[in-house]
């Protein structure tokens, strides 16, 4: 196992951290318009993620920084090739932040409902865009010998990538719904508890479709699962974790359900990563042009320095994260001093 492999694994874990954490606040955003009806309910939703959303988003920034440092050639190809897609990701990231921040600064119902719509749609948009990008990475991109491609915006809109996009949105709604079960009380909690199992059925069905589509059309990513047997543990565990979260939601044990749902997201991403390895971006023009964890990586001394930085930094990250979630644990209370 080389440093490159270690970094690939760490990168996948950082992205998994991002999807699990920002996933629930995107989910809360997606569910805001359909589920929260009164102003107090909406504020409960927003305040439930209020103290933590910023820290969650940092995982994305960290993921970007790590990709830049460790696999710079993949970073350059992916970001420039999907130029417009990444610009749209930026747009929804900006809109989400300001909608959350501005919404409760004015009391007028029209001001508030406008920002609620912006927050809901940009959360949904972000989930779709992330899924779309992931779908395109899985199905390969037309990377040339210099590592460049240009997809335009419409070039990314393949049926498969769209399916992955919608599935991602469903996955985050489940994650957000379960988080809200932890954070809400009373009638609102009951309403969410009725919706979450339905969302899980939708997510499960869509995800099954994604797997079928991969087996039929994108065998390069399922190949590893047919040559080796041990990697099957990960998708199997993802399925088990999804089953577990279903069970715990039914029993009203929201915290355990949240852990299971987080595990589902993490395990699905790991399964995808195993299918992709050792490629980072598969070239659809010529397999020789594919960017791998070896040919797209920084020199070994950079990988070492970055690993030292990560090993010093990540324990602190986990400590702050745990501390904040601990201090803001329990049901969300809407007061004068929040969102």
């Amino acid at each position: 196992m080389t440093l490159n492999d270690v970094w690939f694994a760490l990168f996948i874990l950082i992205i998994a951290g991002y999807l699990i954490l920002d996933g629930f606040d995107m989910g809360v955003g997606i569910l805001l318009l359909p589920l929260a009806q009164t102003d107090v309910e909406r504020r409960t939703f927003l305040n439930s993620i209020g103290p933590v959303w910023d820290g969650n988003e940092v995982w994305l920034i960290l993921g970007g920084g790590v990709l830049f440092a460790v696999f710079p050639l993949a970073y350059a190809s992916l970001f420039s090739g999907m130029y417009s897609a990444f610009m749209l990701v930026l747009l929804v990231l900006i809109l989400r932040t300001v909608a959350l921040e501005f919404r409760s600064k004015e009391t007028s119902p029209r001001w508030r409902s406008t920002w609620d719509v912006v927050f809901g749609l940009s959360s949904l948009g972000l989930a779709l865009m992330l899924g779309l990008a992931f779908g395109n990475v899985v199905s390969g991109l037309p990377v040339d010998a210099n590592g460049n491609f240009s997809s335009g915006l419409t070039g990314l809109l393949t049926p498969f990538a769209l399916l992955v996009g919608v599935t991602t949105a469903a996955m985050f709604s489940v994650q957000g719904g379960i988080y809200l079960l932890l954070k809400t009380e009373g009638e609102l909690n009951d309403r969410i508890a009725r919706t979450v199992p339905r969302l899980m059925v939708v997510f499960f069905s869509l995800n099954t479709l994604v797997v079928i589509a991969m087996v039929l059309f994108h065998q390069e990513i399922t190949e590893r699962y047919t040559t080796d047997i041990w990697p099957v543990i990960f998708p199997a565990a993802a399925l088990a974790a999804l089953g577990g979260s279903w069970l715990f939601v039914r029993r009203g044990e929201a915290f355990k359900a949240f852990l299971c749902s987080s595990a589902t997201i993490g395990l699905l991403l790991i399964s995808g990563g195993i299918g992709l390895y050792p490629n980072l971006i598969v070239s659809t023009l010529d397999p020789g042009c594919s960017l791998t964890v070896y040919n797209a990586a920084s020199a070994e001394n950079t990988l070492e320095v970055a690993l030292i930085i990560a090993l010093i930094g990540i324990p602190f990250v986990l400590l702050y994260t745990a501390g904040v979630y601990y201090i803001f644990r329990g049901k969300t209370v809407v007061d004068h001093h929040g969102y």
């Binding site: 209020g50 920084g65 710079p72 420039s80 240009s150 930094g313 209370v333």
Partner: protein, 472 residues
């Protein structure tokens, strides 16, 4: 226009807009730590009231800084792919380190800072504020470090096999401590503190001018004014001057461009205002003889190298560089004057509180300080052109080769649209907060101070405090 020019425009636009907020996060943050410490020391509730007020303002500034900050990290890849390939080995680690060390610190404690007033005791709240502010400084440290590597690259070698050509790190510590790093970071910190102190000074002067919240505003001004004078003065006299020495040593062509000095001169003059005619290569204006020689070498008779002596090296746009640099110098120095004037009027039997002229000058300081720090950053970045990594890689060679111009046009339109909206909303909300002023403590405190956990042990021993109020 081609994709390169458009990408330059977009990057300049997005980073200049972003750069409004980080100096405030650092500077206002430091002032908040001072106010919080005063409360912990004196237990005077006025400081607590001010903390609640300024934390709200800080939240707004911070949110915009976060929202506009992610953009740059993406743009290196989207618009400057060749640059990213070239510097990834060196530059990427510093960005990743910023994420893992600084952003998580800020992100983790931000919630406690913004919502902590009713959840944490004064000491723990102050601790959270301190950690966020420390994180903001730490973040700036990594960014200025990365940027300093682009100004004065060191600790690397260029590898060409396998393609593409790229800078490979040979010594991590040389990458971190490039010759320009320490002088530049000190200048950035001190300038940011000036901006933060100026914001507090402006707002308290405005209240006194309008005869609102008088007692609170006077207390606030008494803290802000001396710090403002100190920061503004030290920044020009110590760290700004030191920066001139650093540029002289490491980027002498940049120094010559800043002053529009075409021919080498002993006892070189420094302009106060002026105009560079780049076609005739002449600079005209009002100048002080020998001052440039003294600034650069602490010797009035020293020879300063002119632009000619570096020919045929490519130069930045000289007049633009000259103008932004002199804006920084003139307005930065004027800030000291305004501060001292305010200080004198205060010492002169507290006449400051009655003098509408001096108060209105003090109100203007935040706008002057913000534009000055931006002009300073432009001086550094325009003066580096046409290089993206000084003397190593041209900006033109760093651009993404396949991104079509029309896609960049669309993204520029998108940024201009969203940022204009954001800026209008930011000013509107900031103005409203300021007009509303600090609220009464009874309104913002939902839990009595004495009941809040004030040590780490308290936090983990107690049940979560509840705000037993109906939502408004």
């Amino acid at each position: 226009m081609d994709a390169e020019t458009l990408s330059r425009i977009q990057f300049a636009l997005t980073i200049s807009f972003h750069f409004i907020f980080p100096p405030l996060s650092m500077g206002l943050g430091l002032m908040l730590v001072v106010i919080g410490a005063l409360y912990v020391r004196t237990k005077d509730p006025k400081w607590r009231r001010l903390s609640f007020f300024w934390v709200k303002v800080y939240g707004l500034i911070f949110a915009l800084g976060v929202a506009t900050g992610v953009v740059q990290e993406f743009e290196f890849g989207t618009n400057w792919a060749e640059y990213s390939r070239f510097v990834g080995n060196v530059f990427g680690s510093l960005l990743a380190a910023e994420g893992v060390f600084a952003f998580f610190l800020e992100g983790g404690f931000l919630g406690l800072m913004l919502f902590g007033g009713n959840r944490l005791g004064p000491r723990l709240w102050l601790f959270s504020i301190f950690m966020v502010v420390f994180g903001a400084h730490f973040s700036a440290l990594w960014i200025v470090m990365a940027n300093s590597w682009m100004q004065t690259p060191a600790g690397y070698t260029i590898a060409t096999d396998p393609a593409p050509a790229r800078a490979v790190m040979t010594n991590f510590w040389e990458v971190v401590f490039t010759p320009s790093f320490i002088p530049r970071i000190m200048h950035v910190f001190m300038a940011s503190w000036t901006v933060g102190a100026a914001l507090m000074l402006s707002v308290s002067s405005w209240y006194i001018f309008k005869k609102r919240h008088l007692e609170l505003a006077k207390s606030n001004l008494k803290v802000a004014l001396p710090l403002f004078i100190f920061f503004a003065f030290t920044n020009v006299a110590v760290f700004g001057a030191n920066q001139a020495v650093e540029v002289t040593q490491n980027q002498p062509l940049k120094l010559a461009s800043m002053e529009g000095l075409y021919q080498s001169e002993s006892c070189a003059r420094m302009y106060l205002v002026g105009w560079v005619d780049e076609t005739t290569q002449t600079t005209t204006g009002i100048s002080i003889p020998c001052l440039l020689s003294w600034l650069a070498y602490q010797d009035t008779s020293a020879t300063v190298a002119g632009i000619d002596s570096f020919a045929p090296a490519p130069t930045p746009p000289i007049n633009l560089e000259f103008q932004v640099y002199h804006y920084m110098i003139m307005v930065g120095s004027a800030l000291i004057g305004i501060g001292l004037l305010g200080g004198l009027f205060y010492l002169w039997k507290r006449r400051l509180f009655e003098s509408r002229l001096v108060l209105s000058l003090l109100v203007l300081t935040v706008f002057a300080a913000e534009t000055t720090i931006t002009a300073g950053w432009w001086t550094a970045e325009i003066g580096r052109q046409p290089w993206i990594v000084y003397d190593v890689l041209k900006t033109a060679d760093g651009v993404s080769p396949l991104v079509p111009a029309y896609e960049v046009v669309f993204s520029i339109i998108m940024f201009v649209g969203t940022y204009s909206l954001l800026f209008v909303l930011f000013l509107y909300l900031l103005n409203r907060k300021i007009q509303a002023g600090p609220e009464e403590l009874e309104e913002v405190e939902t839990v009595a101070v004495g009941n809040l956990p004030d040590t780490f042990r308290d936090v983990f021993r107690r049940q979560q405090p509840r705000a037993g109020e109906e939502p408004p």
